[in-house]
Amino acid sequence: MKTEGKKRIWSEYQKNVPDDHFFYVRSCIRQSFFPGSEQVFLKILRDDLGKDVFEDPRHTTCTGIGYHGDVVPFETIQTVVARHFALATEAGYKNIAISCVTSFGIYTEILETWKHFPETLVKARENLFKATGRVFDLPETISHASDIIYKFRDEIAAKAKYALTDITTGEPLRIVEHIGCHYAKMFPKHGIGGAEFPHVLVGMIEKWGGSVVDYPERRHCCGFGFRQYLVQANRGYSLSSSKKKFESMEPYQPDMIVSNCPGCAMFLDRWQYAINEIDGITYGKDDEGIPSLTYEEMAALMLGYDPWEIGLQYHNVQALPLLRKIGVEADPEKRFISKDGSRLPEPAGLINNF
């Protein structure tokens, strides 16, 4: 493999990610399944990097899952997104930072639609005004939260307490990166590194000492498929797609999976459990399972955050062997505790629970 080729592509797809002053919009899935990820993202930006990130409590879902589940009309989602722009405008922010890849895809799709079909923008303004009396300016930049971490990867590396290397061997960890489909497949120029060889996660991983595995099904969808997961009868499709990815990455014996999409990170975790139940297969070296992390969790680990404060324990594939590899000392006993510090019963049947 020739890395110059990749470097050339990466240099061609660089986008303008602003330095500071972000208007942050949360993700339904990420705050419901990985609440620690979003919280630590804000902490890293604000505390570690000293950035100004505003999060308006009045912002809602972008309705993206409803939109891609084909029950929310295009006009409606445009208006909901327009409302978020209005909130940003009202708060004086021009840089939107988006937690969710589905949302990110929707924001970019809507902005492109408004550019190519100006009448749709007019209609969105009209609808928003009619419904809420709000007006808005178009944002100057749209960044996915992973774009921002990517941008500050050097700063994070400088402050990092750990690296993505095996402390016993000194070898870089083998990491599978998974990019949410809606990050760059629709509009390659909006994604760092483009659609075919996205650099957004590779940049972080390599900067922090890991090595990236380029496996054949790298670009394949995790299988969420919106309605394909939302309806029970269709879930086999979703499961099968992830299985295809696991089978393809398995020979490379990856130490972890990192994803920039909340849905993908969840499915690549949950389906390992389901496949284990159905077929009795555990992927990963020595049947350890492959921990599936979000990039915020990965960044937080590097910066030395307590893995249990960022919610790493709320994965079916536990990260304990991974933590040992990179030298993070974390007490497994302290994973499941209540607000008042008492121990909660540990869920049975977790993968890698050792």
Partner: protein, 247 residues
């Protein structure tokens, strides 16, 4: 016959997504749905580009249009600049507007999505809040999920938030905001669209003799559309093979 192609062309996504297809198959080659369903996005685009309204109606009533997972991988590669994924979205929209969706098993599932996701959005302001993901209905979420939902307060607190607080993850969305959201749904056509899905589904439930309730998810028709799989969605050859293996 209704000018279905004309109706489709009113959707900007359709206009954007359909140029001239030369049947190269680049979309099907990487389509996850084409691998697991009896589905070929190339054929869908090829059919709509004929502008044959009969064929389009057949498509709108078929299972075919419901297989796409909207990963949009097709958009990246098409050498003619088509986006089968967008064409599919326009077809699905029209199928629901015209009430054709209840003709297909996969189409009828729209009712479940409307009730679940639509309901979540209008009730909580989120598409999928944790507390709406019942571990009993989602065994595939695994052992961690039961713990997560059972101790949701503690989990959110551990991660530095407060469930239904004013800030942080899964905070409560205030009533004014919820009103704004609902008004947006009214003025931008979503409420009307929801109503179309509801009434067509109710009619279908009636036709099938299944119990139907105006609210919630605990009744026959919902369970039927949510969990029925007649096993005929994969390709003929694979179904046969599965049958023979089972024999």
């Amino acid at each position: 016959m209704r000018d279905l192609f004309g109706l489709l062309m009113r959707d900007v996504r359709f206009e954007e997504g359909l140029n001239a297809c030369m049947n190269c198959g680049v979309c099907t080659a990487i389509c996850p749905a084409a691998e697991y369903y009896n589905y070929d996005p190339r054929r869908v685009v090829d059919i709509v580009q004929t502008r044959n309204n009969e064929a389009i109606e057949e498509l709108l009533r078929s299972e075919t249009i419901w297989y796409c997972g909207q990963c949009m991988s097709c958009k990246t590669r098409c050498p003619r600049g088509n986006t089968p994924g967008l064409v599919i979205m326009a077809l699905r929209k029209l199928s629901q507007e015209l009430g054709y969706f209840t003709d297909s098993e996969k189409g009828r599932q729209q009712f479940a999505i409307k009730r679940a996701i639509g309901g979540n959005i209008l009730n909580y302001g989120y598409c999928v809040p944790s507390y709406a993901v019942d571990p009993m209905a989602h065994p595939e979420q695994g052992p961690v999920w039961g713990h997560f939902v059972e101790h949701l307060d503690d989990v959110i607190a551990r991660c530095g938030g407060e469930l239904n607080g004013a800030e942080g993850p899964l905070r409560k969305i205030d009533d004014d905001t919820m009103d704004e959201l609902r008004r947006i749904f009214d003025v931008s056509g979503a409420s009307e669209f929801f109503e179309t899905i509801e009434s067509a589904s109710e009619a279908k439930a009636d036709e099938m003799g299944l119990e139907f309730k105006k609210e919630g998810t605990d009744f026959e028709y919902f369970r039927y559309v949510y969990s029925t799989d007649n096993g005929e969605h994969q390709s003929e050859e694979i179904r046969k093979e599965a049958y023979e293996n089972g024999r």
